[in-house]
């Protein structure tokens, strides 16, 4: 296998890994959209006969529909960035002639 083929194979592998990660991210985005959307849409309405219900001092719908998923999103981000995302060689042409800031 010559150097160019090796470079292309490694780049292809890293491209496919990046694409897998992209699908996981879009999936996570969708889950959090649905969570916040459902809780806020059905829990945030105004009921003039009821006093405001709170949790930890904030309106209950905000806690369940915003703060709780926010904490869950942080936990997911921790898992994704530290355990799922793979290291990649960002510069497959490292020994080539492309460098940051060339003026071509």
């Amino acid at each position: 296998m010559n150097r160019n083929e090796d470079r292309n194979r490694k780049l292809g592998d890293s491209f496919r890994q990046s694409r897998r990660e992209m699908f996981v991210i879009v999936g996570a985005w969708l889950v959090f959209l649905i969570w916040t959307g459902l809780v806020c849409a059905f829990g945030s309405g105004l009921d003039p006969d009821e006093p405001v219900k709170t949790l930890l001092g904030m309106p209950r719908w905000v806690f369940l529909g915003v703060v709780l998923p926010w904490i869950a999103a942080c936990c997911f981000t921790l898992w994704f960035s530290m355990f799922y995302m793979k290291d990649t060689d960002l510069d497959p042409d490292q020994d080539g002639d492309h460098s940051a800031g060339d003026t071509r």
Partner: protein, 633 residues
């Protein structure tokens, strides 16, 4: 309500706060100077526009977060929370996954493709990915167009904060008076408030100077400081505000009793001082004989001609609790008499609880501030328009390796959590400390900083708190200035006018372009539209709508072609602009037309995506050599 609030709401600054703020500014300049020294002797273009593509976790994460958290986060967003209440928690909650989406979606591939292409700007990356000048030129024009609106909004925000901070400092007041005398009759310039004009020029000189001198490295290093200042400022403001409203539970329960204000006209009478000239600032508190409490919505010069005759716009307070508090503490000796009909909020008028529920009150829209579909589209907007911003994308070309990226994603997630959630708590509570700020809602952040620090007896701390939004604005402005300057020099001049240019010439051109863009932004920012956030959402939405689909597909789809990229970008930008022009025509003020209550960013991005996919499928197969170069096998 105490006198500190009265002073603060009329724009008074304290000298200790000013000193703290100036200390912060000195730190920014020292850092920028050091950054400029470090960059000396290295390749100018790579260093000036991308800092050598070698940033570690702290620099990369904080420059990304600080740039993303712009004047909108600290000026426009607080103004919206104040005006519409807790519904803003839903509006902003898309930020919970912004670090994941905006950073992880593209960062690895952008950095990799950028290195393979040897590109230092996003238009250049696209140009080389498709080997097409048309793609690069289209991208550059769109960046310059939308980014200019972004710059305007940030310049306005920076100048507004300074006007609050300098307040009644004697030397500043003298300068404002002199400038007013000099420019009062000048075309365009004369129509700007003289204090705003002075601050706008100060702000522009400061930020343009260090950006032009130090380039990307200075911008990133100062971003690190500015990011830390933002975080510390928000957390201090949270502690002070919550302690002064008696805790969050108490604040929420009291807020639930509030009702939206009304708008009307009033005739003013000076009473004992009748016949003497009186000046009342915008926001001055007034009372009427029948117990109404109101705030002036304009600055008033009251002489014998106007006294008891002329009508002025006022904001009428309707909540019983707010009325009682202001009655107990007195108002101006000038008495007001409401005349003519009152305008009530289209959504939420007279209803208790509107500030703690969604969709939240709105002065003009009957559906309230945040209908369900709009809330859902903002969840998409923050994430995907963030991912599609060239100013953020270009930062993703600057980190050293994937270890830095992974740590940065986590860091930015924690940073945003500690910024955005506290901001909601702070500015929903702000309604209780500072009623009637609808008269100039964009100033709520610096005004609240003045009030809570004065109340706590630590007025000097206001300088640090005001530095937080100022830091957010500066960290965005410097990045945008650099982006526009790189667009002009690297993507227009070098690609279309003269390809082989000595480094020295590029350096000179880059710095002069940065300065010229700064001057142009000042000229247009003299009379900007009233709502900062509208301008920011338009500009960021336009950039996202133009770039997100073409860049994502350029990085992940081998089949994409150059003509499809050009068409997609144009369609995205034009659709976004069209929705705003329609909105402007319908509402008679600059704002988006919300078809089916969905933000135009979604329609524009979808149109862009469809055009790119259809044209790529219909076109010729892409060059196999290019595909191998950027995707491997």
């Amino acid at each position: 309500m105490n006198t500190a609030l009265l002073a603060a709401t009329t724009g008074a600054g304290s000298s200790s706060a000013l000193i703290a703020f100036l200390g912060y500014m000195v730190a920014v300049f020292v850092i920028a100077f050091l950054a400029g020294r470090v960059g000396k002797g290295k390749s100018f273009v790579g260093e000036y526009y991308l800092g050598g593509r070698n940033f570690g976790m702290w620099a990369f994460a904080l420059t990304y977060a600080a740039t993303l958290a712009s004047g909108g986060s600290f000026m426009g967003f607080p103004a919206l929370i104040y005006t519409h209440g807790w519904s803003l928690a839903w509006w902003i909650c898309g930020y919970m996954v912004v670090p994941l989406v905006a950073l992880s979606l593209l960062a690895k591939r952008i950095n990799q493709v950028g290195r393979i292409a040897g590109a230092i700007t996003i238009p250049e990356l696209l140009r080389k990915r498709f080997n097409s000048n048309q793609v690069g030129n289209t991208a550059t024009i769109l960046v310059l167009f939308f980014m200019f609106f972004y710059l305007l909004a940030q310049f306005k925000a920076g100048a507004k904060i300074m006007t609050t901070l300098f307040g009644n400092v004697p030397a500043y007041e003298k300068l404002v008076g002199a400038v007013d005398g000099l420019t009062g009759d000048w075309f365009w310039i004369g129509s700007a408030d003289p204090d705003y004009l002075v601050c706008l020029i100060f702000f522009a000189i400061a930020v343009v100077a260090y950006t032009a001198y130090g380039g990307f490295r200075a911008v990133v290093w100062t971003d690190v400081l500015q990011g830390m200042v933002m975080l510390i400022g928000v957390l201090i403001l949270l502690a002070l505000t919550l302690s002064q409203v008696g805790g969050l539970e108490s604040a929420t329960q009291r807020l639930a009793k509030q009702t939206p204000p009304e708008f009307g006209k009033a005739i003013l009478e000076t009473g004992n001082a009748k016949g003497l000239d009186r000046e009342l600032p915008k926001g001055a508190w007034l009372g009427s004989a029948d117990g109404e409490i109101m705030r002036l919505m304009e600055k008033v010069a009251l002489g014998p001609e106007e006294d008891g005759k002329k009508e002025y716009d006022v904001l009428i307070i309707t909540s019983a609790e707010e009325k009682k508090e202001w009655k107990d503490n007195g108002q101006s000796d000038v008495k007001a008499r409401i005349v003519g009909p009152r305008t009530r909020y289209a959504a939420g008028a007279g209803q208790e609880g509107v500030y703690v529920t969604a969709p939240g009150p709105h002065p003009k829209k009957e559906g309230g501030f945040l209908p369900v579909m709009l809330a859902l589209s903002f969840f998409a907007f923050w994430n995907f328009s963030g991912a599609g911003q060239p100013s953020y994308m270009v930062r993703q070309m600057a980190f050293r390796d994937t270890v830095v990226l992974k740590r940065s994603i986590l860091f930015v997630a924690i940073f945003f959590t500690l910024i955005y959630l506290p901001l909601i708590l702070i500015f929903t509570s702000a309604r209780l400390l500072m009623p009637g700020m609808e008269v100039d809602a964009d100033r709520i952040m610096p005004e609240l900083a003045s009030v809570v620090t004065s109340n706590a007896g630590v007025a000097w701390l206001a300088g640090i708190l005001v530095a937080a939004p100022f830091a957010a604005i500066m960290s965005s402005v410097d990045s945008f200035l650099l982006l526009v300057s790189s667009g002009v020099v690297r993507d227009i001049y070098q690609q279309n006018v003269k390809r082989e240019v000595p480094e020295k010439t590029i350096a000179r051109l880059s710095r002069w372009t940065t300065i010229c863009v700064g001057i142009l932004a000042v000229v247009f920012a003299l009379n900007p539209p009233p709502f900062l956030q509208t301008l920011i959402v338009f500009a960021s939405g336009g950039l996202g709508a133009s770039f997100l689909a073409p860049v994502v597909l350029a990085l992940y789809w081998k089949r994409m072609t150059a003509p499809a990229a050009v068409a997609g970008m144009i369609v995205g930008g034009v659709v976004m602009l069209s929705f705003y022009l329609i909105g402007w025509a319908i509402d008679d003020e600059f704002g988006a037309y919300l078809w089916l209550s969905i933000h135009p960013f979604i329609w524009a991005s979808l149109a862009n995506l469809v055009v790119v996919v259809l044209l790529s499928r219909a076109g010729r197969d892409p060059d196999q050599e290019l595909v191998e170069q950027y995707f491997g096998t």
